[in-house]
Chain length 334, copies 2
């Protein structure tokens, strides 16, 4: 890999590298004729400026990192699309990283990004993350940071999340209004803020309707289809079978659908299922999934705007939290 430098161009034209630099950047103090000469030569020599050298120079990489737990999850890829959409037109590059919900990977990724001197980090926490020192390290370095969706209250920074409590409340209330009485909840790991919020919303809705919160109807699970399926089967094989399940995410709801199918239970007659996210395929599923829609694209967009705000203003005075409203999408599974 042989890259031409401004020095090479300068030598080829018998001028100094300063002049070449000026010509390329279209600075003042440059003769239009010289400029043309330089540009032509640059094109001829297949010149491409070294981003490292430039970043090195004025301490900006013009790069923003997005860290998500998993990329093959439509919710997150929609968020990413929102970020990229907002970034298009600016001269910032978005680089995408996934932690696969593993704390160790998250730590390594952040270390790497710090080393890269990324200009900002937009991230959603891994479900496996307990220790938050790596996030605090980011803050010590005064690196612009936006947490979205999977946030935590143990870190004080800019945040964007859904009203998970309200979404869960609406979902549960909807099930109740449809006449379901024995509603179970497959909830996410409790170290995640969203899991706790959704669980709380579920419990509140039950209590407000005068229904009892039964511990045996609440099982903790990973956000994976397979995992959820296993736990859903447990729920459905209890002596007193729940008549509805509220899944903490659409993937978890999918696990319920698969479990019900395997146990020959009809949806929504034998068992109702409701999810959370509204992934792209929810509508085409068998049955179409009733779910809580999250404005994923908007979240991504807002995250980018928030990070740009921090980068441009430099200061981090006062953190801001944005809570977006969710929407119930009625389909066939409940």
């Amino acid at each position: 890999m042989k890259h031409t430098t401004i020095k090479d161009i300068a030598r080829a034209l018998g001028i100094s590298k300063s002049t070449v630099s000026r010509a390329l950047r279209d600075h003042y103090d440059i003769n239009p004729e010289t400029r043309k000469l330089v540009l032509d030569m640059a094109a001829k020599m297949n010149y491409s400026p070294s981003a490292q050298a430039i970043a090195f120079q004025h301490g900006q990489t013009k790069t923003i990192a997005v860290i998500v737990p998993e990329i093959d999850n439509p919710f997150f890829s929609n968020c990413i699309n929102g970020v990229e959409n907002a970034a298009a037109g600016t001269d910032y590059l978005i680089i995408i990283n996934q932690t696969r919900n593993i704390e160790r990977v998250e730590v390594e990724t952040i270390n790497r990004l710090i080393s890269m001197r990324v200009d900002g980090v937009i991230m959603s926490l891994a479900s496996g993350t307990v220790n938050l020192n790596h996030i605090k390290r980011l803050q010590n370095l005064e690196m612009p940071l936006v947490l979205f969706d999977r946030v935590t209250d143990r870190i004080d920074c800019h945040k964007i999340f859904n009203d998970d409590f309200e979404g869960a409340y609406k979902a549960t209330q909807y099930l109740i209004s449809k006449g379901y009485q024995n509603i179970a909840h497959l909830c996410g790991f409790k170290n995640l803020h969203i899991s706790r919020e959704r669980l709380a919303g579920y419990e509140k809705a039950l209590m407000d309707a005068g229904l009892k919160v039964k511990p045996e109807n609440i099982i903790e699970t990973d956000f994976k289809i397979r995992e959820a399926k296993i736990h859903a089967k447990k729920l459905l094989q209890q002596p007193i079978r729940p008549d509805a399940i509220f899944g903490v995410s659409d993937h978890v709801a999918l696990g319920c659908i698969l479990a019900a199918r395997e146990l020959n239970l009809k949806i929504p007659d034998d068992i109702a299922v409701i999810g959370f996210s509204d992934l792209t395929y929810a509508e085409i599923l068998n049955p179409p999934l009733t779910t809580i829609q999250q404005p994923s694209f908007e979240m991504g967009k807002l995250s980018f705007e928030m990070i740009m705000e921090q980068i441009e203003q430099g200061t981090q005075k006062g953190t801001r939290s944005v809570c977006l409203k969710t929407k119930l999408i009625e389909r066939g599974s409940a």
Copy 2:
């Protein structure tokens, strides 16, 4: 954003930056005691080496770029997972870029990656890409390159792809064996190699079975659900309605399912649908989608191994093509 440098550490300890550098890299010519002093101070000062400066030094960024048309497509995200899985354990960072099938974005992305001095590029072409000069530019710079899935025969480089012809042949043959006679094909844009191959496989299977290839049964479409749905409706509203549709991808097949649903046609009784990819949700769809499985994870893994081969050997002598076999997955839609 204030980053400490080895110079800062050197000053704090009253030694030279050379010694600090040696201590951090655990080089020879370093006193264990000094080393410990430096490491402790580095930790205390929250030191993180500048990746730019290092890359700048010995011309390697330890970064490999993956370019895909769209990230929110399970086929590609699986490929990415394959790449990342293979990269885990090495000291290479994978950065992910999406072109959203727009040629201009692809060109800009590649320019940016060249500027970044990425060590290698693994990419799948955008469906909108016609001109290939940006790819040739990569080759002129002798940058390691692997094309996967959406390859082209107009570029001579390392390639990994599926046996699209064979996959399409199998899909069509399967439909024929099930008794379908009037099989249509929603094919992809013809500038894509995979589109042409799959079309050819479809045609060959028809001819081998003594069936006629009818031009009115072949419609070109984008790889998007919505687009495909529109074209599928056209197909299904023809005077002589096809009894089966082979979609060039699962998303296209999904479009067919939606179109059929809207026209109140039963699948697979009124119309059979078969896809290509086997996306994660194919099994849970309504109806479960019969499709051709592509080894996406393997493709990603192989791509990474191939790029590493090029990076380590340096030379690009002789390009290699790997063609992976596909597999028919029988489900309910055909």
